[in-house]
Point group: D2
Chain length 380, copies 4
């Protein structure tokens, strides 16, 4: 008799294949689920493999559009970046994948979900927190089987090669899949214009060849293509995992890096200084929440709402050049610009009286002078 049904996030790789078999052996019915979030993978072959290993059912789900619109776009609005460097690409994939998995579990009457993200990492947390948040009664079995663990690690070049040798080894350039080595990238830049509305890109145009994209998925894919061609968005960092360890992370985020710079720029152009300051703090909080797996949490919903509110006037076009691993902002324009040429100009006095600046400075100095006075008094 079956112990119940498990929906397994299946990758087609060795790890999750082993888990599939192990779950069957334990007496579970297994529904395999493959999420397409844009990775290059032979989904048909994976489906066949899952079936041949005994999956009762196989779901292959194209989540690319919803991943871009519902997960990447809010991160762009937030200028989400973890510990000043990591653009959180994999972190936001987990809740997207797990959400669908929960939907399938509910639909198939499965009481269990499973995944291959075992061990000491963040992905287990992101996966399981999402499942608990969306389906509180669910359980998540996973194996402690030593063999299985070993196989997994042995085949995982990321951990094998990099975490071990953090002090001595530099990352080999053939590690990267999406980005060219800047050494080998073109000797001429591509110049793009990205148009934003409410803080999300609505169109990208290649200013030379005129190619233009305007659906979220096409925009993001195009930016990945251009960024990848020029080697944009590679980082090699030490990061702090939620479980309190430091680990080395090597990431490539070509399209996300372009969007990060472009969005920062249009936001600075259209958003009030003090709103920006408050929103910056919310964006840092948002980044920590995403990294730690709390996409589906009351606080993350709250922060997303607030950040989204801040983006109402973040609208306009940014021109930028992509070249040798770098993104250069060239200019920007917006119908909602708060940049006032006349106000800032040195040869138009306009409404601004230089005497006001003196008063402004002297009032700001009241505190400083008092502090100085006290220091002087104390020395007497």
């Amino acid at each position: 008799m079956s112990k119940g049904t498990v929906v397994l996030a299946y990758s087609g790789g060795l790890d999750t294949s082993c888990i599939l078999v192990w779950l069957k052996e334990q007496g579970y019915d297994v529904v395999a689920y493959l999420a397409n979030i844009g990775q290059s993978e032979d989904f048909e072959a994976a489906q066949k493999k899952a079936e041949s290993l005994g999956a009762k059912k196989v779901f292959i789900e194209d989540l690319r559009a919803e991943f871009v619109e519902e997960f990447i776009w809010p991160s762009v609005q937030a200028n989400a970046i973890y510990e000043d460097r990591y653009l959180l690409g994999t972190s936001i994939a987990r809740p997207c994948i797990a959400r669908r998995q929960v939907q399938i579990a509910k639909q198939e009457g499965a009481q269990y979900v499973s995944h291959g993200a075992t061990g000491k990492g963040n992905d287990q947390i992101r996966f399981e927190l999402t499942c608990y948040a969306l389906y509180p009664e669910v359980k998540a079995p996973w194996s402690m089987d030593a063999n299985l663990m070993h196989i997994r690690l042995f085949t995982n070049p990321d951990y094998k090669h990099f975490n071990r040798s953090i002090n001595s080894n530099h990352a080999p350039s053939d590690l990267y899949l999406m980005t060219k080595n800047p050494d080998d990238s073109p000797n001429h830049p591509d110049v793009l214009e990205i148009e934003f509305n409410r803080g999300v890109p609505v169109r990208v145009t290649h200013l030379k060849d005129g190619r233009s994209e305007d659906t979220p998925l096409d925009i993001f894919s195009f930016l990945n293509e251009i960024g990848g061609k020029h080697g944009v968005g590679r980082i090699d960092i030490v990061e702090n995992r939620f479980i309190g360890m430091k680990s080395r992370g090597i990431y490539e985020t070509p399209g996300g890096t372009i969007l990060y710079h472009a969005h920062l720029d249009i936001e600075a152009f259209t958003m009030d200084r003090e709103v920006r300051r408050i929103k910056q703090g919310l964006g840092i909080k948002f980044s920590e929440l995403i990294y730690n797996g709390f996409w589906y949490s009351p606080e993350c919903e709250f922060v997303r709402h607030c950040i989204s509110k801040s983006q109402e006037n973040v609208e306009g076009k940014v021109q930028l050049s992509v070249f040798k691993g770098q993104v250069y902002i060239l200019g920007r324009e917006s119908p909602k610009s708060l940049y006032n040429e006349e106000l800032v100009s040195m040869d138009v006095q306009g409404d601004y009286d230089p005497c006001d600046a003196s008063g402004f400075i002297r009032v700001n100095a009241v505190r400083l002078r008092e502090h100085c006075r006290l220091q002087g008094d104390l020395k007497k």
Copy 2:
């Protein structure tokens, strides 16, 4: 009879020459003061000019070493960056320059200080707040004379060319003084190793040619040279001035950009996650204070102290490559690393029990499940 003595921050340029003459005409004795903070300038010629225009005395002060040690180094420790992009180079020069000016004023018995930073900018504020903070009784006269203003602006390419044309004009590449155009920069990277102690660089070594520098000024100059050669640290941004206007800023910070990346990296390697999080908030505060001219303020002293405290274990070496406008971190090592290879490794279980992660996740999910439960209850 003299109205009193003014110490004028003199640049040798047209603006401050006009101010010098105007102050003399108004009846002041003028002491001209030129600060050398590393800019390329003919100080001897400037001295002669000041004398010929009637300066009673001329001080030429080499502040380069103290600028690096007392102003740049604390900014490196703080990862100081204004509005996520601007590394604050000019902002930290003002308090350094004004501090010496106040010292000269006190020494010369001058009741007045003056400067050329008139108008709508941040520099007037930074200059005057510093003076008030260090010499509360001082006064700072400056001219509203329309002609003078006009001359100044007419000769200031920065404002003339860039603020006006923010939406349409891209910055011409000959604007930059310290950095090569990345297009024309070398086709091979330079690889450096920077050694830090207590969060400040104590040595830089060129890993190929073996050149090594170990005084603050030499280290910073060398990094400026290498960064400049590879076109590192150019930005074209819209920023929010303290007086509430948005303005366009075009900056180049070659050495500072290299240090920013290197310091972020060694800090992530040696600093506890939660200390880092608190310190990040202090660094953002510090950056705003510097930008707004509050280097000499009780809160900035407090924040500097706290940040400095956080750097006690920020020690070690970072290897990096500089190429085509980009800084790539290659690796790092430290006697105070908090990276624990064994702990993070997937094939050593060590002290870490995977069951703990499940408990950790389930306890973190308590809140999320309650939230979900309430949402469900409310829908009934």
Copy 3:
């Protein structure tokens, strides 16, 4: 010929009467405007006085309901408190009063507004910032006339008696207008139940005598009455003005103090911990903005929106007792409570596995043990 029309915020007192006369003498037409925000004042007499002094027109505006609903209620939602102690009563009155003044100025075609809040205080700032924010072209003339100033100060007991003698004098008990001295207050408490919806009170009931109020103005007036009767909400503090001085403030906020405690309680009962933490930070920001006069600013609008969003589930009833200057929370109930009796109970294990706590603790300790390990290593 008239210099133009001024709308003067007129109080009927000596100061603003002098300003009215002075403005007439300067050649302005003066429209007098009296705002009723609940202070006890003879508005009819004030109107006659303004007319007799030459006001072209007199507006007496009852702003009590909008003051409670649009200004006090959002402050209650925010738990707004400045520097941990001051509940901001007068601070939120200014934007309410100035907003109507701007409306009258626009309606009457007045280019000028004026007020009696001269000098070194916060109220001038709150008043003028509101006017500039809502009517950017407006001007605000006020007199520097020494006599006028002197008269004003001479008649202002608040400043006269208290700011001078901050170190030695205790506030005399007859200073307070709204609250009884706790010494003389009743020897038996009043017990109230306040019902909240979306974070604002919608009903208050006296649990003994059954009196119940349910409009914002009536609720707030009743709470002022009960709080006043029991001497609730008196404070004697030193606060930091926006212009950088410390000043002494003596305030009484009977109804606001009751609402502060009641709202804190119902919020804690219904709001997720982490949402609360983020919202607490926004509330502190909100309080500073209000204090400094930025009610009408993009950042304050943004923060108000976010805080209001956080209040969606802040609903339920709080029972409290008011006695001898103190508010005691007795209990609370809510249909949206996140308090789960079964979950927290010690004799129901339910869904919560004590082993999870051990895992949770051990994972939280990973960082701490690493820190300890490093400290030990460094000592070797």
Copy 4:
């Protein structure tokens, strides 16, 4: 053969007596440890009981002085308060108690520690995090024995009576041990003067009867006595536990409440506004850390250091009255006051030019007017 030695935090009560017996039965040698942090308890009787139950050794440790100096005083400096209401009394006792327990364990060669704080509470976390932080190799066994749990709960009035009945029952007044019911408290206030140095109390004087205390323990005990006599510091709250549940807490903190108000006051009088603002944020962080059990953590050490630094000038005397559950600040004085009577006075112009305020306001309004301009433009 012994499984090893356990140091048990023993209270003399039923729970820890059961644990002692259970540990013996499991084969451990048990060292009983009783910490005296000021609770009223018959330590001699407890010692005898532990011995009679088979403890190999019994330590009775008087931690009162170090508890006040090393744990309470830093909390006073921080104005530590959790979720705006709870003064953290029990939270700071745990690390104090556990620290000595670890010292005893090391000295006695014990590999294990144990305690009675089982279940769903914060105290288990505070206890165990402290032990792991100070003695990473230690283990902490505790029982899941259902009987034991049941007994514990049955005899624990706190949980029994209050957590169950949160919505309907008001706390009975005989629950409180340290504070009189304000109803029954004296009809005349006691007036105290507390002197601070570097943010901690160094003397308390009863202004009428002249009694004066000047050691930390005596000061705190005296304040507990006076506060208790007048019913100060009772709260009945719902709080958010670290493990994500809401629970009801009923606390009494008489001396701590007096110190909280007095310290807030002297701090406001002597600390720069902006330093205070930054320090307020650190204090909130500190409170969360303490509540969650992270007293011994790198971030808490860092924050304590920063807060302590902020207190350098927090010096002076506060006069206050304690009456019917309330603390009223009457006045304050300090050699390091930043309150400047002349500066703030309305009839001394002194150094402050009212025109400066107008400039200050107009510059602050630049942003607001731009925002208004944009809103207007957008509506066209």
